[in-house]
């Protein structure tokens, strides 16, 4: 088992005929992901990925014709929020948005659509999710390199891209496999938070330990820590927080942190996580050892 993506995933790729979309879709298929459709407005009727996948003009068409239940968006930033809303309206329940640089007010509106239609959004500006399976295959939606994974039972959730790869690689090198690796994205407005991800992992019987990889800024790690303390005490849990030595973030002024009631500093996030029973690593390479110390044993 896994969360969000797995054998049941029937993926529609919005922006499949673009350079990024086409490249990563091919990688997903090679790993074992079922891509059932692509969407590029004005190019419906074409076929992509060596003629193997039909392209539709709208997400509604793709859903009706192929039963797509998950979307992955590679649409350029100016149209990406609209692509999210379109997927939600078409009835897609799990929407991954890889695109970075989406105007933040577009996201406020897109998120309202996602909520209105009862969909779940992951991202934007996220690497997606992978649920590794047997024989070097599995289901991946997004851009996480397939080569870093090992199937297993540790759930990984992270705000970052390459830092996630680093952490997952160190786990794989140590023989510790993953149930699902999920990158939730680092933008100010995202669809799925750390806490949401932990709630999903909590319901997944195949996940027996948690790795949380956070960053300075905001209060999402503290919120997740509080939830985990009350609801995840049965699972070994470890964390890493990037930015102990970093200067204060530039993107948002203090007002954002004040409103969240948190400082956004690494030291406070680490304290909150430790208080919630997480073992916190000083380097991503320490995560495998800490998992074992937290009581996790690979099967």
């Amino acid at each position: 088992m896994s969360i969000l993506v797995g054998p049941e995933t029937r993926l529609v790729v919005q922006g499949l005929t673009g350079r990024e979309g086409g490249f990563h879709a091919a990688q997903m298929v090679a790993y074992g992901t079922k891509i059932v459709a692509g969407v590029t407005p004005g190019r419906g009727g074409e076929r992509a990925l060596d003629e193997s996948v039909p392209v539709y003009d709208t997400v509604s068409d793709a859903v009706r014709e192929t039963g797509a239940n998950t979307s992955c968006i590679f649409v350029p930033a100016a149209g990406a929020a609209d692509a999210i809303a379109e997927a939600a309206e078409a009835g897609v329940k799990t929407i991954f948005c890889i695109t970075e640089g989406i105007p933040v007010h577009d996201m406020v509106r897109a998120l309202a659509s996602v909520r209105e239609y009862g969909a779940r959004l992951i991202g934007p500006n996220c690497p997606g999710a992978t649920s590794p399976g047997a024989n070097g295959r599995g289901t991946k939606v997004g851009i996480i390199p397939a080569s870093i994974h090992l199937p297993g039972d540790v759930g990984v959730v992270s705000r970052s891209g390459t830092l996630t790869y680093e952490a997952v690689q160190s786990m794989t090198d140590a023989g510790i496999g993953q149930s699902t690796c999920l990158g939730i994205g680092g933008d100010p407005i995202i669809g799925t938070t750390f806490r949401d991800a932990l709630e999903l992992f909590a319901t997944d019987t195949a996940t027996r330990a948690i790795v949380l990889i956070g960053e300075i800024g905001g209060a999402a790690e503290e919120e997740a820590a509080a939830w985990a303390a009350a609801n995840l005490s049965h699972l070994p849990r470890v964390a890493f927080i990037a930015g102990r030595a970093a200067p204060e973030g530039r993107r948002m002024g203090h007002a954002g942190a004040i409103v969240s009631g948190a400082s956004g500093r690494a030291i406070d996030k680490i304290a909150a996580l430790e208080a919630a029973g997480f073992k916190v690593a000083g380097s991503p390479t320490e995560l495998p050892r800490l998992l074992i110390e937290a009581g996790y044993s690979p099967r």
Binding site: H105, V108, S147, T162, Y165, A242, G282
Partner: protein, 390 residues
């Protein structure tokens, strides 16, 4: 992108918000001319304010009053000679000094936690909102704007009522609060803050008082600047360090720090982690630098120039986890950059992930010092910066 008070005022007035008269000047003579016009229009005193993109101008002597055009000229000359928190003052704003009865705080901003537009108001205007939040969090009232419709009038009134406004002032306040949210949405601003929003005497209107936006702070969303071409004129390129500008134009995120180890990394989280590990290994990072996803050789070469422009850099650590970014592209960029660089600085390179094997072959042929693990790379860089093992 932060914009100056003068431009923030212009944005507010474009949206019909009450902003007092005023003008900017880059020379004392121009300041005098502006002051003359304001005195002729009925001002009894003018305020001269340094236009710099940092807080604490007042304490630094960057905000002063003048009672005559001649005094305005000399005050402007003094302020234009200041450097506030490393930023030279190149321009001043001259405005009529207001007779303030009461100061209010009001802002609209993107809030991560609630994932929407948050509007905050406080009766304790004129102070930094952080200070208010620390002293008395209950003094700040909040409303979430509707994601599609903006701040609704009843929400705006509720904010005004909570900070003790009644009658005509309440009506004005509600219009200003909904206006701030309209600006945030239509101009794609992360933050629109008016502090103080001042109550001033206005004998000409019923109630005898009105609200004016005396100071404004606006941060525009960098990701949305493309659809507001007119805002590009508001970028303060003069105050922008040339190195920062090159980084911005190349799509590289760069923040200069005080240490000796230059860092080149792909991805913000991994870049921060690299700084953390350098620090943990006993070194001091010279910068945060994220070359972004899918960087090609030319971007790597630009990143190298940016790092080396900092004379404090004694060693360089390159840490790349290839995903979208291809390791061999980065290696080629490094080899190209080293051939061009004027200053020789020891370097340790770690490239893993996509095309790491090809990268390793290229780097070996070019005799680069390499590392396998992140921790090892950080330790080597620290040793190199200290003049140790090569």
């Amino acid at each position: 992108m932060k914009i100056h008070e003068a431009e923030a005022r212009e944005l507010l007035s474009r949206f019909g918000l009450p902003v007092p008269d005023g003008a900017t000047a880059t020379t004392p003579a121009a300041a005098r001319a502006a002051a003359e016009r304001l005195f002729a229009a009925g001002a009894t005193q003018v305020v001269i304010k340094a236009q710099v993109l940092v807080g604490g101008r007042g304490k630094a002597g960057g905000v002063k009053l003048a009672a005559s055009a001649a005094e305005a000229e000399s005050v402007a000359a003094a302020i234009l000679a200041l450097t506030i928190k490393d930023l030279p003052v190149r321009r001043v704003l001259i405005a009529p000094a207001a007779e303030i009865t009461r100061e209010i705080y009001l802002s609209a901003l993107i809030d991560r936690a609630s994932r929407g537009i948050l509007v905050m108001a406080s009766a304790a205007g004129g102070m930094e909102i952080e200070e208010v939040a620390a002293k008395d969090p209950t003094a700040i009232v909040r409303e979430m704007a509707h994601p599609q419709a903006g701040l609704l009038p009843f929400q705006a009134r509720r904010l005004g009522l909570h900070i003790g406004l009644r009658g005509e002032l309440l009506r004005q306040f509600a219009a200003i609060a909904t206006g701030l949210v309209r600006i945030a949405r239509e101009a794609d601003a992360d933050l629109v803050e008016v502090n103080p929003l001042a109550v001033v005497p206005a004998p000409e209107i019923p109630g005898g008082e009105r609200l004016v936006c005396l100071d404004a702070k606006v941060t525009l969303d960098d990701s949305a600047l493309d659809r507001h071409p007119d805002f590009s004129a508001w970028r303060d390129e003069e105050s922008e360090d040339p190195i920062d500008r090159e980084a911005r134009e190349m799509g590289i995120s760069y923040i200069r720090l005080d240490g000796s180890i230059g860092c080149m990394v792909n991805g913000a989280g991994l870049a921060m982690t690299t700084l953390d590990l350098v620090t943990r290994a006993g070194g001091t990072p010279a910068n945060f630098l994220d070359i972004g996803g899918g960087a090609r050789a030319d971007k790597v070469a630009a990143a190298m120039r940016i790092i080396l422009a900092d004379a404090g850099v004694k060693a360089i650590l390159v840490n790349i986890f290839g995903g979208i970014t291809r390791g061999d592209e980065v290696a080629k960029g490094l080899i190209e950059a080293r051939a061009q660089q004027e200053r020789v600085v020891p370097m340790v390179v770690r490239i893993v992930g996509t095309n790491a094997t090809e990268a390793a072959t290229l780097l070996k042929a070019a005799a680069f010092e390499t590392a396998t693990s992140l921790d090892e790379a950080a330790e080597k860089a620290v040793a190199l910066a200290a003049g140790g093992a090569k």
